[in-house]
């Protein structure tokens, strides 16, 4: 409540929230702003106008012009908002849940559980994030391309369900598959930070008097963990999570840049920028292929960071009571 109010009062976070709201409107109203072409088989596949590799500047037909391969930039930018929200939010959601779970168990039980989970976490942390994500993405794409059923497919289906609301009973749509592999790879190597912070928070609140109080009235471990410790420890995670949304979208864009992101032609800003990659030396002429999706992604990430930054100031107990935010 008060947090939201403070966010709205702070000019930077207000800007962030306004931008995000606009994006949300764009995402929700995508079929209205950029109507799905009649014979489209998947609304996320950007309609194209021919196959020419040379991008074409904005025109009446293509408000923002077309990329190489003649994908409509406007359509991609609009529908890309949906993709960005989905990617950012779902990855953040899952990594946060996993991180919170592992961090909580580790902090709450301590002892060998802690030792084990933390060593496990450290192993994952020993990988440079981007490299690990790149490697895993390429491996996963291979595995999924095989089309066999196994545990990994199960995971992909969970992510597919969260991301696209796809019925887990159905086969994974090959168009979405690549998005899923990138997401899974990021998820795999993205939860550790949260886990560590969470562990620290749990350790801190575990020592709190209200936790002892709950113990004294006879509350069980689970009750203490879920009713008392988690709600209090999880709040600072919000800051990290909100900033993570932006950075995951960036990471995914980096994967797209390296050719491991979404299926070609999929409405994804990162991929649209990677279309621009090879036109950069002549950007004076082809500015629109980098400017529109580029601005879209930068503003999106920026907005989350603005909100996260303000949120940090608001939630940071060290800054509290300073009388200013």
């Amino acid at each position: 409540m008060t947090i939201l109010k403070k966010l709205l009062k702070n000019p930077t976070s207000l800007i962030g929230i306004v931008i995000l709201t606009l994006y949300a409107i764009m995402a929700i109203g995508a079929p209205y702003f950029a109507p799905i072409p009649e014979n489209a088989r998947d609304p996320y596949m950007i309609p194209r106008d021919g196959f020419s590799t040379t991008p074409n500047p904005p025109s009446e037909e293509h408000r923002f012009g077309t990329t190489e391969g003649q994908y409509d930039i406007y359509y991609g930018v609009v529908w890309g908002a949906r993709t960005a929200f989905r990617i950012g939010v779902v990855i953040t959601l899952i990594t946060t849940i996993v991180g919170v779970l592992i961090g909580s168990l580790s902090g709450f039980y301590g002892g060998w559980v802690d030792e084990l989970l933390m060593r496990f976490t450290e192993i994952f942390q020993a990988f440079p994030f981007l490299l690990a994500a790149i490697t895993l993405t390429s491996v996963l794409q291979t595995v999924y391309g095989r089309g066999e059923a196994n545990g990994l497919v199960f995971m992909a289906k969970i992510v597919a369900f969260l991301t696209f609301g796809q019925n887990p009973a159905e086969k994974i749509d090959p168009v979405q598959l690549q998005v899923l592999t990138g997401m899974l790879a990021i998820i795999f190597f993205g939860w550790m930070g949260i886990a560590r912070v969470m562990r620290g928070n749990i350790l801190a609140v575990k020592e709190s008097e209200y936790a002892t109080a709950a113990q004294i009235i006879g509350a069980g471990n689970m009750r203490i963990l879920f009713r008392h410790l988690l709600p209090n420890a999880v709040f600072p995670i919000l800051v990290i999570a909100s900033m993570n949304i932006g950075s995951y979208v960036l990471t995914f864009a980096a994967l797209s840049f390296l050719g491991l992101g979404a299926q070609r032609g999929y409405a994804d800003w990162g991929q649209m920028i990677s279309f621009a990659r090879n036109w950069v030396p002549s950007l004076g002429e082809y500015w629109y292929i980098v400017v529109f999706p580029g601005v879209a992604i930068v503003l999106f990430v920026l907005a989350w960071n603005l909100v996260g930054d303000a949120l940090r100031d608001i939630l940071d107990p060290r800054l509290r009571g300073s009388g200013s935010v």
Binding site: A213, I216, I217, R227
Partner: protein
Amino acid sequence: MSALVRVENLKKYFPIRKGLLRREVGSVHAVDGVSFEIKKGETLGLVGESGCGKSTTGRTFLRVYEPTDGKMMYDGVDLASLNAVEMRKMRRKLQMIFQDPYASLNPRMKVLDIVGESLIVHKLATGKEVQARVEELLTLVGLNPAFANRYPHEFSGGQRQRIGIARALSLQPEFIICDEPISALDVSVQAQVINLLEDLQEEFGLTYLFIAHDLSMVRHISDRVAVMYLGGIVELADKDDLYEEPLHPYSQALLSAVPIPDPVAEEGRRRVLLKGDVPSPINPPSGCRFHTRCPIAETICVEKRPEQREVKANHFVSCHLVDAEEVVA
């Protein structure tokens, strides 16, 4: 009246782990052989300097910490021997009020949930009944029952402490450990809480273990007082007995150090000033724990740990140098 609570030679050491294998290399002797009794309906005050083990004593008794050694009898049952399920049942009778009214209430729970949680945990009430009971409790501690739906941060310190008291009372306990319930409160508010505690004791026949720094307040509220120093009780007696005639050199120093809010009284007072600080409980001094600061220490004090002796009727002292006969005379 028989003793409701009897603690015998209670010890609580916190292990210190270090090194590669997290081996135990030593321990904090937080509570090191504490014995006392509390009769039903009585208030025992527990005073001592910071870090001397007061809270640990209370918490160990409630099995927040597992005792290292000793007996903790409550109504004839040794709490130390109970298993988790039995202990949970027992908790209905034993409660605690905490020092910090800001830290002891979960900031993300409503008063209703904080106070009513115990009812739900012990399946004593459901739904509407909880609400009704909580409102009743709030009224009892002097809060507006309409506050049930507010969050702790909307209350002042005194009010919060009342919420804490309501929580402790929700299970209709017999014995409450008050761990410095007023030391975080403003002077003007402290009296409100003390008065409330006294009223409740009268109304429900509660038994208190009242832990505090503030010796004046302890004198006010307690029937008997125990003075702790570095993990052990050095003196335990009826309050007037103790305050008027402290026998242990530490008690004497402690009492003389407490300022009296009266310049006239202060003028004539002589203080026994102790040297140095309280030693670390990690490697407590040999023999009498107090010998390093004791103005009258002798060699025996370094060598042997004094027993707790009843030097006068109901007046227990742990000191080699307090002579029973002398005292009586």
